[in-house]
Symmetry: C2
Subunit: 161 residues, 2 copies
DNA sequence: GTAAATTCGTTTCATTTGTAACCATCGAAA
DNA sequence: TTTCGATGGTTACAAATGAAACGAATTTAC
């Protein structure tokens, strides 16, 4: 009851003009990614002193075997300079080796060494366990909605490829 | 039919030991956040040369009126040095002013100036439009699952507060 | 009261990052 | 074949970032 409030176009406080940061999709997504990234990074940082680009490179090579730096970057959505630096460090640790392609000498094939593989075999289950653990914090229905939501966002945001 | 393959514990290629990066939750979340952040950032970067911390600070103050730097950081999940630097730049541009609290002189209250408010009033609708646009790229059911998924993740990952 | 611990916010410094320039190589076109 | 543009990868430089130290003000413990 009562007369509806007159909207004042000059009023910054007009609620329909405002943006609620807490419910704003880019912000929510960023905060979640930041939180999950930080949490999960403990797994590989504390144990092996890996940075995220290094972890991703290791994960890519562990998953796919031999890859080029370009392929690593594409698979893991990393800038090529990040890949380059991560590869350099993993090579320095002797966790991977490079081999120049003989027919196209611009390309180099990256492969995990035995040591690198051993690390991967230790880290991959930890990663899976982390994910399982995270999903275990929610109900099955919630877990399902998470996967569906991610699928929908990927379809809307990452159409290319 | 056929005898199940014997698992070879030394084989890196044993699929159940591998981690598929493309389906790994932290990775998916990070890639999505990165994509959406980049896409949306065009809105405020091209037009106003704002960085993400600056945009968030503006958004916080626009939404809430006067706030302390600490409150800005808490609301927008930013490190206090990021807030400090964003505030310094927004002040330099005369988009906000500081006012020392008289009873506790450690605290300063931040408020948008008229110019700052004007920018906010231009940017907030653009942000909402971006979000609406993104959701319009999917079906209503997909949009719903996105929100449900985010809710579930937040409940699992950000219990504090 | 005073000393110690805490809080708000800034600054310093080392690290990480991205852009752009770069080098080497390759493929296509002339 | 020479040249020109594209490609794989690295490097140089500047900007953004975070950890830690800091200064000033406040609160707590004694």
């Amino acid at each position: 009851m009562g007369i509806p409030a007159m909207a004042n176009p000059d009023d910054l406080a007009a609620d329909d003009q405002k943006l609620t940061l807490e419910t704003f999709l880019p912000y929510r997504l960023n905060r979640l990614a930041d939180a999950i990234s930080r949490e999960f990074a403990k797994t590989y940082r504390e144990r092996y002193g890996l940075t995220r680009p290094q972890w991703r490179t290791l994960a890519g090579l562990g998953q796919n075997g031999t890859m080029t730096a370009k392929a690593v970057g594409e698979q893991s959505a990393m800038h090529k300079t990040k890949v380059s630096r991560a590869v350099a460090e993993l090579e320095r640790r002797k966790w991977l080796t490079r081999r120049r392609n003989t027919t196209d000498r611009r390309i180099e094939h990256l492969t995990l060494t035995r040591v690198g593989e051993a690390v991967y075999r230790e880290l991959a289950p930890l990663a899976k366990a982390y994910e399982a653990d995270l999903l275990a914090r929610m109900s099955p229905a919630q877990g399902k909605s998470v996967l569906q939501g991610l699928n929908a966002l990927e379809a809307a945001l990452l159409p290319r490829r």
